[in-house]
Amino acid sequence: MVKDIIRNMRKDFRVEFREKSALQIAFSFAFIATLSVGLVMGGASTGARERSIILWLIMFFSAMSGLAHAFVREEEKGTALLLRLTSSPSAVFTAKLLFNLAFFLALQFLITLLFVFFVEGDVASPFPFALTILSGGTALASASTILSAMAARAGVRGALFPVMSLPITLPVLFAATGATAEAMERPGLAPGGDIIFLLAFSGAIIAVSYLVFEYIWIDE
């Protein structure tokens, strides 16, 4: 099982870095979206709450543009069938989840840096801020992985993935925007319940994902 997971992850990274187009598009989207928002705002003074909402909306749509790819690629290239024959559903899901987590955390790093630089996002409590970004990113990536598997099986491109994802990830956006706003404006803040909430959400989604993934992945 562990060997299968490592082998699948290595394959995913190798394919992504060989083809580069999906990675390039996802990073370009994150870069252009963050910069465009910064330019449109034009240095206008906004409250921490508004800034955190904008930050998490950029993160959500960046996740939507980049995280569906792992499963969609397998279906489009016809490699999904081979993957079903050679690896167990749990191994496939774990590899895709870890790949998406690594990919999205890298994407978040870029977005956060650009956002703090261009939108003048002063961060009063950097440690809770970083923890919120990490735990919120984990929650978004966890939910997006299982939802992207469903969207890929549906074989529809376009708006289906965000339409399915938004209701499921709303608790993440609610909690993360609140915690980010607090970390931005309150100095000396200790990491709080929102981070535990986001981690609990990730745990619950991952647990349910393992239970249902087999039914999504294997044909009747």
């Binding site: 299982i146 469903m150 099986r153 938004l166 209701p167 709303l170 608790p171 909430f197 249902v212 044909d219």
Partner: protein, 214 residues
């Protein structure tokens, strides 16, 4: 099924007659206050249909019977219709009680959240039409949505403040109002079950016609 239809034919007219003729006029809202007897049951059916669809989806994935996935879909269809009606009637009630159509009340927002889930579910379901895994994938989505529900229950009061809706046990109503409300809830539950059984029947007929045409 026949019993449900018979009971519905008694309970629904009784609920309507009781709401307009038996229950006393509300002191604050007057006659428009009778909306309560329809809004509360509609909100109840929205949640019941969602729960039923989720449980049927679980049973479908556990391989407990045929047609469970389509019954879950039919329950979600009824749920979506009742969610729209509950939101619309709730907005009118909100305007009467609190002065505006929308107040970001946790319960108002929960119903809209349910509506979003239903809409997303039907988008996925329609994208899966004709695929062999349609029932399984759509069921998996409903189960995932059910797992997210408790997080909203925890979040909404925190971010949106306490509900303007009366909490259970704090509403002082006279017995006639209470009985009318209970009858109306029972009548709407029967209506939901009746719609569900009719949809199941038409679905099976459609399947049979399709099989014969093949």
């Amino acid at each position: 099924m026949k019993h449900i239809a018979r009971l519905l034919h008694i309970a629904m007219p009784a609920a309507i007659i009781m709401a307009f003729l038996y229950a006393p006029t509300a002191e604050v809202h007057g006659a428009p206050g009778r909306l309560l007897f329809f809004h509360v049951p509609m909100a109840w059916i929205s949640a019941l249909a969602f729960l039923t669809a989720g449980l049927l989806s679980m049973a479908h994935l556990a391989g407990r019977g045929r047609f469970l996935d389509s019954t879950a879909r039919h329950s979600a269809e009824a749920g979506l219709a009742f969610t729209f009606l509950a939101t619309a009637s709730g907005s009118v009630w909100s305007k009467l009680s609190w002065g505006s159509y929308w107040n970001w009340d946790p319960r108002q927002t929960s119903i809209v959240f349910l509506m979003l889930i239903y809409i997303a579910y039907f988008s996925l379901d329609s994208a899966l039409r004709g695929k062999t895994n349609r029932g399984r994938i759509a069921s998996a989505y409903l189960i995932l949505a059910m797992a997210v529900m408790p997080f909203f229950v925890f979040l909404f009061p925190r971010f949106l403040g306490m509900s303007l809706h009366p909490q259970s046990g704090t509403l002082e109503t006279d017995p006639a109002t209470r009985i009318t409300l209970l009858v109306s809830i029972a009548a709407h539950t029967l209506l939901y079950l009746h719609i569900l059984s009719l949809r199941n029947r038409t679905h099976r007929l459609e399947q049979n016609i399709r099989n014969i045409a093949r």
